[in-house]
Symmetry: C2
Subunit: 315 residues, 2 copies
Amino acid sequence: MKAVVVIGEILVEIMADAVGDGFHEPMALSGPYPSGAPAIFIDQVAKLGQPCAIVSAVGDDDFGRLNLDRLRRDGVDVSSVRIDTNRPTGSAFVRYRKDGSRNFIFNIRHSACGFLQHSDTMEATLSSADHFHVMGSSLSSREFVELNVKSALSVKARGGTVSFDPNLRKEILDTPGMREAMMQILAATDLFLPSGEELTLLTEATDDRDAVRELLSMGMEAIVHKQGAGGVQYHDASRNIVGPAFQVEEIDPTGAGDCFGGAFIALWLRGMETDAALKMACAAGALAVTRRGPMEGTSTLAELDEFMNTTKRLS
Amino acid sequence: MKAVVVIGEILVEIMADAVGDGFHEPMALSGPYPSGAPAIFIDQVAKLGQPCAIVSAVGDDDFGRLNLDRLRRDGVDVSSVRIDTNRPTGSAFVRYRKDGSRNFIFNIRHSACGFLQHSDTMEATLSSADHFHVMGSSLSSREFVELNVKSALSVKARGGTVSFDPNLRKEILDTPGMREAMMQILAATDLFLPSGEELTLLTEATDDRDAVRELLSMGMEAIVHKQGAGGVQYHDASRNIVGPAFQVEEIDPTGAGDCFGGAFIALWLRGMETDAALKMACAAGALAVTRRGPMEGTSTLAELDEFMNTTKRLS
């Protein structure tokens, strides 16, 4: 089976229990929940039985151990997660507002996972990848960008595949060299997984249809355009497939896109037929929003089967 | 009235609701509470109406604003609290164990308040001090040690006074130059405020009575030895005074020593008779342990009077 590798942040998330605006006074909170977009993604990959690893760092604290225990239990190879004795594990405080938007307080860039330290173990993990996933949120410094570009190109050079979830803010593209790095990654991408407006973030085209054509012309095999409760749209050279979302009660959407991506890539790598893989990945995304906590909603194959048998899809 | 200045960390504290060992799984938490030993200390000084300021830094986030709003509301001059747009406000997660001991996860050293940035405003604040308080927990880097030593010596040179709460772990004394810096601070100290075993932390003497004699011989006016629920022992050249604690139900002891110190110093600076000042400072410490949250238990003069009139002292 093909091994999936991702580089990026491992965090704990602390959630406000009640909706409202920010953290201006003491309130009821829940946590620490294991988190970090690439960590959620790779946990979902592992739960489907795919061999996989994450390159990251955590502090020498309970927050780091909580994440390592969870990832290890679910089958992720964490041998390339460095334990930093100097910096704490990263954290994100999140509070939902009434309108569904979120207020965050992050400690990521100056936390353990904000720093790369090259090692033989890390090189071995990266060299073992048959598939490399680039998570845009992890392109937080020039070093991370460079390592992602290098890893994507080297996986491609040895016949592997690359997926790319842009998951990044427009402002980041203004960092010197960032847009060029993104174009290098796009050129190496087999599966592109943008959400909503990210479809046109890196294209010259500003409307969706032209953007799809432009992206496919760069050599990628397919684009899976995530649209939250609106489901997904799959595009390749010959087909456009609409993947409707499942009808669920939304508890906590954080991490749903990462669960969708992890599931779709694992199923695509093992050659599952596209319609079936899209349906199952939509189920993974839907199940994720029904659970409180960003990584609490990752699913096994059996859980996805059970869910698909008992849940309606929106049309 | 004499102005009190302190340098040191401003944090938010996040508390586990249930006692237990560490943070190995998601749990009910409360926070963010304003915190940081020097911040709690100076908030108590301000609540007694003493002019005072803190030199520190917070992130450009709700955790920073929460602290600044609280300190400002209570009367602390926060003009020398820098807003760091790059680093987050410091944080401390705390969970009490059954035996009353605490498990912490800190993000301080790499947070906003872990870094000093000299400015004219800061120099003006430090120059305005009639009394300078050294908080041992804030001696976290050579720069902080140097600024504390320099500030203590310069307040003394212009006829002011210095207090020192060692509040530090023994291991810190092994840092090169640290013990020498502590001795410089001790030599400038008028009021020394150790807790428990800290009385002998910096002395050659290993028993309490000899340590008191050794410390007084260095030129300090008085030692107030804090002993938690055991009350306090005051020592100067001519007197030993026992200050019994008040009888309260302990909810959260964090910050009680800082409240005691802040109250005692404010009252001492305005020339209150020692017995009365000790009693009122004990009341401030006692009130602090009855409130959940480290800075929630600071008190005004009226609150202390009311409390002393209605609460028994242990003997």
